[in-house]
Amino acid sequence: MKTENQKGWFFILPVMLLVAFNALVPLMTVVNYSVQETFGNNVFFWHGVGWFEDVLHSERFHAALGRQLLFTGTILAIEVPLGVAIALAMPKKGPWVPVCLVLMALPLLIPWNVVGAMWNIFALPDIGLLGRMINGMGIDYNMTQQPWAAWFTVILMDVWHWTSLVVLLAYAGLIAIPDAYYQAAKIDGAGPWAVFRHIQLPKMKKVLTIAVLLRFMDSFMIYTEPFVLTGGGPGNSTTFLSIDLVKIALGQFDLGPAAAMSLIYFVITLLVSWVFYTVMTRDEAQ
């Protein structure tokens, strides 16, 4: 017995309303701003795709996007292999497991602006532990003046803050591997590298896909920590996309270009995530 009717829609109506209010409606205001020009007094003029063209041709946007890609690429290249390595080194059972897990989870529990503030003080060349140490080794290090030092600190901070996430996900994937796989590999004469390459890595692939996606999206939209740490400086050297966006939207109050930029930003994030996901799950689709 199957009756054809449209009652099913009522069940998803609450969700649709919720999504509408927390996502679609705010997004539509942004779309609205992105195609109009205003001179105040709530008077708007149609501007077409003008703002989009401006943003796409702006050198400032290109530079911020370039820095953003470099930053995200660097932290992914460090955090994913490092996270996997730490997960592999963690004990699989015994009393040290909870200790390791808690230690690993600690950085994830610290509010983002606190992380920025902590590292700001930590990296101060005169009183910060890290800053004093690096200078003590004979390296001239001043995060507030040297772009390389600012980059170094921002990346170190992100690695410290977020590698744990990769560790925990990779660890979850690792402990889910049945013992029989390791026993079979032993019997088949596989060395540690072959075990990693043919058992551990394939079994971690699903969680690593999630880890890479999460780390990509989060780092691509990173704002609070570098904003508190460097404020985007020295100069514009650590001004990432979201920092630039806030400068344009709230600093200069250029709502049109800012709206256009956020939409482009959004599309890039979506597109890259989609590419990541498609590539990483390609094998299973076959």
């Binding site: 029989a180 019997i187 043919h198």
Partner: protein, 360 residues
């Protein structure tokens, strides 16, 4: 290929075993011939998997020695024992093709690629995997995956023994039978010593030339399937093997005869030495119980149809007796008499076949 000897094996998972119950394996002495097909049969938790892992080297026994061809391998890790194992859940290398899966153990051992190719094709042919060599192993059905696990053992020519740890658990029933006969056929072809662990009597009895029945960390009987069926050395074996299992009825022994509830029961091998036994029982399989004009009085309680025969449940003075009646024949109702085939009826003292010192 090798002869396997287990000498005075004891194993406990406790660091400091005290009580008898702390031992997962109480005492195991076994000698297995080269090229035989053996089964370890017993209920869950009887220690059969522990014993298997000791032979494969995944577990080091607390006491005793493991010998391969008289060579002590107790301390050797699995990869140096030259063994192969098929696990309960199929272990395959997901990212590799069937071909690469089969080639993996050889490549790890640095075998030349042309030799690898020849061996892989030969074994794939044997296992009927030839047409899927290029397929990725991950997407295959469980029975093909188990064949691949087995194939990884068969490709190597240094294998002393292939072990199976309940390998048909995840296989669909209609494929179980096929794979089981395939295993038997393979054994006859390659003649490698094979050890098969299972709690399924059908699997053990069809696969093995010799079955080792285990209970609570001890071997209760070693024998061919026929011996286990016809002459169980322990009431546990009688009960565990056969469907329904052997009837075990309380009895007393006096004047050199066995009596069940006051009725004299003729027993084939005599009553043996039963003095000092705390518990005396008669064991007779339902196959050897029949209706008779006179004998032990009983009442029919229930009749269950099992296809080729019917299982009749009787009650005799408080004891339950199963009887196998051929399908189609008339089953008397109410008060009846049954007799036991004397040649197949035996006395058990404290569970063990009475009067036979070697039964233990």
């Amino acid at each position: 290929m090798a002869k396997i000897g287990l000498k005075a094996l004891r194993h406990s998972y406790h660091p400091n075993p005290q009580a008898e119950a702390d031992w997962a394996l109480r005492r195991i002495d076994l000698d297995w011939d080269d090229g035989g097909a053996y089964a370890l049969l017993g209920p869950s938790g009887c220690g059969k998997t522990t014993l298997l892992n000791i032979i494969s080297g995944l577990v080091v026994p607390t006491e005793g020695r493991v010998l391969f061809d008289e060579r002590d391998v107790t301390a050797l890790p699995p990869d140096q024992r030259h063994i192969a194992q098929v696990f309960q859940f199929p272990v395959i290398y997901d990212t590799m093709s069937v071909y690469d899966n089969l080639a993996f153990p050889l490549r790890n051992r640095g075998v030349a690629e042309d030799r690898v190719d020849a061996r892989v094709r030969e074994i794939a042919e044997m296992l009927e995997l030839s047409d899927m060599l290029k397929t990725r192993a991950a997407g295959l059905a469980a029975d093909s995956k188990q064949k691949i696990s087995l194939g990884r053992g068969l490709v190597r020519d240094d294998v002393n023994v292939i072990m199976f740890d309940e390998p048909l658990t995840v296989i669909d029933p209609h494929l179980k039978w096929k794979l089981r006969s395939k295993l038997k056929e393979l054994h006859q072809k390659v003649r490698v010593t094979m050890i098969y662990v299972t709690h399924d009597q059908t699997e053990a009895l069809t696969f093995a030339d010799q079955v080792v029945v285990m209970q609570e960390g001890e071997i209760v009987q070693i024998g061919s399937p026929v011996e286990l069926f016809e002459r169980p050395a322990h009431t546990f074996v009688g009960h565990f093997i056969g469907s329904p299992g052997m009837n075990v009825l309380p009895c007393e022994v006096r004047d050199g005869g066995a009596f069940f509830r006051g009725h004299h029961v003729q027993v084939g091998e005599g009553v043996g030495h039963t003095s000092g036994a705390r518990r005396l029982e008669i064991g007779v399989r339902p196959e050897y119980v029949s209706f008779a004009e006179s004998g032990i009085p009983a009442a029919v309680v229930k009749v269950a149809d099992a296809g080729r025969h019917r299982i009749v449940e009787l009650s005799a003075d408080g004891s339950r007796i199963h009887l196998l009646a051929p399908a189609g024949g008339a089953i008397p109702e109410g008060a009846v008499h049954v007799r036991f085939d004397p040649a197949r009826t035996r006395v058990y003292a404290d569970g063990w076949l009475a009067g036979r010192e070697d039964a233990r």
